[in-house]
Chain length 173, copies 2
Amino acid sequence: MKLIGYTLAGIGLLAAGLMYMRFAQARADGASAPVFDVKLPAGYRDWKLISVAHEEGNLNDLRAVLGNDIAIKAYRDGKLPFPDGAIIARLAWKYIPSEENNKVFGREQSFVTGDATNVQFMVKDSKKYAATGGWGFAQFDNGNPVDATALAACFTCHVPVKARDYLFTKYAP
Amino acid sequence: MKLIGYTLAGIGLLAAGLMYMRFAQARADGASAPVFDVKLPAGYRDWKLISVAHEEGNLNDLRAVLGNDIAIKAYRDGKLPFPDGAIIARLAWKYIPSEENNKVFGREQSFVTGDATNVQFMVKDSKKYAATGGWGFAQFDNGNPVDATALAACFTCHVPVKARDYLFTKYAP
């Protein structure tokens, strides 16, 4: 049993090492950061809802995660990995108290969306983005793509949820 | 100027009084609470996003407000009052911390959706629901409609936002 355990641990380490080497190779091949060429997807504001969340701290936002039809189908079917063509959109707005709502509730309890902050995307293309789990990453501030260096950390942060194809957000039924 | 002020205040009170009488009449005519006959709208989970919010207190939820195509168009066009056929859906889920996300962020900051709590609807039919601003109200717990008495307070709470056709939620661009 011990031998099996050590073997499995070894395989795990080897896999992690290979993934890191591939990622490092992709970085060494080209720029200092993975280069994604994700364009702002047309009509994303009309996509269906995956879930919502609130981030405190520096972000301090309310966010909605939407998916195109391919992504929504994969989420609902519980299909992993996500098929090529799936796109996840993360919209976010400033987290602000609603005095109007609080008056009706009779207490400070209501938080709503303020100005939009930025929009992020994950686009599945298992060949093009093979070095980053098959996902291309993008962020747009006021409709303008951010610099590639700002996207360098995206994939590494998503590695802990590799088992869910690198997606943090779970579908909210 | 004082006379104009008193006159305006008088008109305001009169309008509020008439609205209350109409509401009281509607109650006296039938049951002890307005009777809405709103059915669970098919496919509402696929509707487009209006906005998201967080309620603390007893509710302690994360919520998404979705709209059918008529409602979304009215929101985007800034059209008031909303046309008949517009339906607003308020989905809500328990507000829970995400240990998984917090590990990645390196601090306690991430709140995500837990179990669904209930779903509420506002359905516009200016004739059928004339006594309540043209809106019929509904709530479903696990797909089952709640008792009509639970809906008695819905409209009165929405009166403060009469100028926005009784809708608290603003469209999040």
